[in-house]
Subunit: 376 residues, 2 copies
């Protein structure tokens, strides 16, 4: 309650995450009612909604969940679509408090569906008309500092003015993001500024660092690979050792993956590589083993393309190779190749880097191949 | 800078995440120097360390990275073990600012290695002697409100006093955590309070809700399953359809997984289920298909135990089954069984729930089997 008052004294709007659950330690509703100086009313429609939610899952609503139907008088309700606790929009004088569940999956849904539109509407009413738009260029394979050097000249020029700013976001296992942000008087102006700037910055990066930009905004590496496979009418199978299924699990996240993804083999034990994928006996951390894994899984799962990863997650070395040594194998319609990588970090990190690196190897290889003619 | 001053006016210690990168928009170092009213000095030892870090990865350090060796005079350095930006400990009068990189993987390392010990030492110097200890009981398969009802009586009793508090943490795809927190005059007293309370709360939960507590504190579901397999001397293989490798990728996270994990097959396309796993042609979202997948992967990968998942991630139905219908199959030394689940949520959520549910089915099955006699 004190925290609410302190925050509201400094800010026009406030988002409270969590404390809306059905248990005794969930105190957000009561604290909000106190700050608003109103009583809590039990909302009958909410009670019915929560009860139905339990019943459709074949469960009885515990009495505790009735607490989640309590609403500070005058507050607006953000309906739930993913859990049981509704969100709340509470006006406090000219200011506003948004209360949403702490579960990230429920919170982000309410943010996009209710909070963002409400904030934009408040901004409009306050007479603020300029708009801010941003675009993210997603890269894999260069360090943040190398990217900064590549665009340093432009960064400095923009610092003198130009309506656009550049920021670098190191997202760890997903590579470095280059974010362009433009402020304009309206959508069209901001978007035009962004489009021009993207062209300039993209050219600077590609000249200095090659084809490291794999996507824009929300495009993940697997979405890009999926689009390339579909454009070429190719199916894919993967053979994974140290990544243990991480590559496959990213690929099935793409909507419609069943059109081009056959599946995979997690050949964690060496004997699985020999017996199931037909890898010749010998060192399993090698270019030859990676290529044999890619061919083996392509044959076994009857796909056009086979992608494989074998390597040393660490901390100990294996087959005389130090931790972080990873081979990515590729079999494109029977044509085999492999790439050797040396990746930093502990076990989970080496795995995560291996996963995105393998997809990037596939992306670059597919980019070099011509689009196959449509099947007739 | 204003933000630093505002925060320091309210708090004794402050953690700043991010802004320590090598690019032009990384301003934390300069802002700290200003708040401390000292100049920035370039640290030669840091320059050497950062340069070496690049060289061991076969790269040349860009000049931009020199910025990361700038240190506000008088600040202590938190050495990097995972990236390039060192952390900083800056005393500001009686208060302290910890500056760490924003990359979560680097930040959490520095927090545990340097910030937490420093905070504890400051607490000790301030004469604070009581200790707070907590223990988390991890559950899968009950709602937060059902758990709260199960322990309601105890919760209310503790509210009257007793030195222990209970909190419920809904972590979404990892189930509900029940956290017990005790304050004592020393470690021994706090731990004794916790041990007694754990026994009481555990009994209340298990009486009302069955064997839903799968682990304690940091124990994940895969760690528990791994320990059970090792105790019984059994090896495991998995066959995954809608989870697309998520189960396998969790299992390989357990250190020493190669001792008991053979690998898996991601049979995303139905033909892979028929051709590779020997599932009889017919509906692939069924108890029979789940059991055939478990047996098939056990045979193919030569393991003692086969675990499988097949189901409908949605949004469309499949084989006449609605989204969220999932079958978990199990083949324990040739004995087959299956469990049917109905899971809520969108595609990623159904996948995540399927993954932990499948591991939980295996956990409960292994718990019921006797420990195998040691091999002689």
């Amino acid at each position: 309650m004190l925290a609410f008052r302190t925050a509201l004294a400094r800010s026009d709007a406030m988002i409270v995450c969590g404390g809306l659950g059905p248990t005794q330690d969930d105190i957000t509703r009561a604290a909000l009612a106190e700050v608003m100086n109103v009583p809590l009313d039990r909302d009958d429609a909410l009670v019915a909604t929560i009860r139905t939610m339990f019943e459709t899952r074949g469960r009885t609503m515990p009495d505790n969940n009735l607490l989640q139907a309590d609403v500070p008088r005058g507050a607006a309700i953000i309906p739930q679509t993913r859990g049981t606790a509704p969100g709340l929009i509470c006006r406090v004088g000219q200011k506003v408090v948004y209360a949403v569940p702490g579960v990230p999956y429920e919170m982000s849904d309410m943010f996009e569906r209710a909070i963002l539109p409400d904030l934009l509407e408040r901004q409009r009413q306050a007479g603020e008309t300029s708009v801010i738009r941003s675009r993210v260029l997603r890269t894999w394979g260069a360090s943040e500092s190398a990217l900064a050097e590549a665009v340093a000249e432009r960064f400095d020029a923009l610092a003198e003015g130009g309506g656009v700013t550049i920021a670098f976001l190191a997202s760890g296992i997903e590579g470095i993001k280059v974010r362009l942000t433009a402020r304009g008087e309206d959508d069209a102006q901001a978007e035009a500024l962004l489009a021009g700037e993207e062209k300039t910055v993209r050219a600077m990066i590609e000249t200095k660092l090659g084809e490291i930009i794999f996507g824009v905004d929300d495009q993940s590496m697997e979405h890009v690979v999926a689009a390339q496979l579909q454009a070429r009418g190719k199916t894919l199978a993967v053979a994974e050792s140290l990544t243990g299924g991480l590559i496959a699990s990213r690929l099935v996240n793409v909507p419609g993956a069943s059109a081009w993804f056959r599946g995979g083999v997690v050949s964690y034990a060496s004997e699985v590589k020999f017996d199931v994928l037909g890898v010749p006996e010998g060192p399993v951390v090698s270019a030859a083993a990676a290529e044999a894994m890619a061919s083996g899984v392509r044959r076994l799962l009857k796909s056009d393309v086979g992608l494989s990863v074998t390597g040393v997650a660490g901390p100990e070395e294996q087959d005389g190779q130090p931790a972080g040594t990873v081979f990515v194998g590729l079999d494109l319609d029977g044509e085999c190749s492999s790439v050797r990588l040396h990746l930093p970090g502990d076990r989970p990190r080496v795995r995560a880097y291996s996963t995105i690196s393998a997809l990037d190897v596939l992306r670059r290889a597919l980019e070099r191949t011509l689009v196959a003619p449509p099947l007739t």
